[in-house]
Symmetry: C2
Subunit: 318 residues, 2 copies
């Protein structure tokens, strides 16, 4: 346990190696990870958590790299978590991307981690949030979380960021359907990237029109920023839009609401996992559980009654 | 309860209206839905469950429509479940798609349901599987499940189908990254759609090369079929590939393994949901639970200890 205290201490004092070690514990779902996360939890709450969401090919990673360099020029420490399995940060990069990002990898003020491993131990959303906490406690000022924004797990991650930037590109064509279908509702800021391509202004107009159909933004009207990440155009504007949104979060009380939702999601995810761990072992043996599955498969039972039968053996307290 | 018995009976005898009613119960997460699902469960297990997975714009919906018509010509009953929020089946269709699919909507041998509503009551994966069961019990021969294949929820749905068709288009460029990242592993059959476009053969070659890197397919080598869904080319070939895979599932014992995994996922999803329902109410009051969240938010506690504290009040049996 003293090792763990040392690790927590080194992490909180911003030691890069301690951070890398802690992230590895979380990734392996090591039993000590939870104790560590509990220990460092009081030191969290200072980092700005920003989501960068968009389709593969929208240039998210380049935009993340550009933003990271922008913040580095201000001496801010930047964490990058790539949840998008198609992100160049996950190692599937084409050469141009790799070169562009090379200096980020050698900068100790930048911590990059890909969470794209399939079948992530303990769940992707939980692991992502755990790594955000570690970066936060290690004194990182900004954490950029790159996601595709599709699927429940990703949506859960987006729900736990403070500001979500939706990245679109001109000439989306069919993609406009995706916007209709929900992307619009999760954008606090919109970036029209690759804005040197034809049709950028039309895309801005389309987003504005779509936005008028969505009423979930309350008194915040999401700004639309044109960027060309590959040549660093519009990065300052994008930062300004993100900063303005954070100001809005603080003055409107929405920041508190979002942070509270983040806590709720974290606790409930943990509860469900721990519940299953204890159920199989304490309430039913692994062998009997497998037998139960067989019975349902052979139509000697049904999923509903199997679940109810197990829960009936548990006492939930008064 | 006699109403519910009537509904279950009408559903099992294939009444379209009963099916629509039952699906609505599931969608609303109506309390009676579970009893109904338990009642009809013994009548399930006959439908072929086929996933159609691919990026927005790959032409999945057109391919689904084409397959549906192909099976209808053989007098088979076809269920279509659109999980992809960008699917034309979800109502966001462009005019051309709508016309192409119009005759499916008026055919009582076809049942179409979009599951793309965000914040689906009771979870998207569970609801999708419930609707598959309803279609199965109502005597539908084939259920086509259309997904984007990104995100944990979608991956969970794909894990519960029997055969998964991955749809790709020529000239994917950056998309090849997505393939590397995992799509390859979930394909039992590959369809290169829009194969009248330049580069179709190169895409086939690329898939073949990628496939040689993946070793998870065991003794099944996924066939690659070229299709042009909009003009109905290659539909027969695709059906033949799907049929061949089903044969493989049966002879290899893999069908049993997949069906068992389906049962496991269903029971565990139900267990987790019911657990949370009972925890808040029986173990802790809603007010006290909200207070607990506040305490963690204010750093008077941490998520780990909050979860452990609640679980300590529960008796899991001997």
């Amino acid at each position: 346990m003293s090792d763990l205290n040392d690790l927590a201490g080194a992490l909180r004092s911003g030691k890069y190696r301690a951070l890398a070690q802690a992230v590895s514990l979380v990734e392996r779902d090591d039993g000590r990870a939870e104790r560590l996360l509990a220990d460092i939890y009081p030191a969290t709450g200072n980092a700005r958590i920003v989501g960068i969401t968009g389709s593969p090919g929208a240039g998210k990673s380049t935009l993340v790299a550009t933003l990271a360099k922008f913040y580095r020029a201000q001496e801010k420490k930047v964490g990058i978590i790539a949840v998008d399995p198609t992100s160049p940060f996950t190692g599937g990069a084409i050469l141009g991307d790799r070169i562009r990002m090379a200096d980020l990898y050698t900068d100790r003020g930048v911590f990059i981690r890909s969470m794209a491993t399939r079948g992530f131990l303990g769940g992707l959303a939980r692991a992502t949030n755990d790594v955000v906490d570690l970066l936060d406690a290690a004194g990182f000022d900004i954490v950029l979380v790159e996601t595709v924004g599709v699927g429940q797990d990703e949506v859960e991650i987006i729900r736990t960021v403070q500001t979500n930037v939706v990245v679109l590109v001109p000439g989306m064509g069919d993609d406009i359907q995706a916007i209709k279908a929900g992307i619009m509702e999760i954008g606090d800021v919109f970036a029209v990237n690759k804005a040197d391509r034809p049709g950028a202004d039309r895309t801005v107009t389309e987003i504005t029109m779509m936005m008028s159909l969505v009423e979930e933004h309350g008194d915040w009207i999401p700004p639309i920023v044109k960027t060309v990440a590959s040549t660093n155009q519009g990065t300052g504007d994008l930062d300004a839009a993100i900063a303005k949104h954070f100001e809005h979060l603080q003055t409107s009380g929405e920041l508190d609401r979002r942070n509270r939702e983040r806590v709720r999601i974290r606790i409930e995810t943990m509860l469900k996992e721990k519940f299953m761990d204890r159920l199989i072992g304490k309430t039913i043996t692994r062998d009997d559980y497998e037998q139960l599955l067989d019975d349902v498969l052979r139509k000697k039972g049904n999923p509903h009654d199997a679940a109810e039968g197990l829960l009936a053996r548990i006492s939930f307290g008064s």
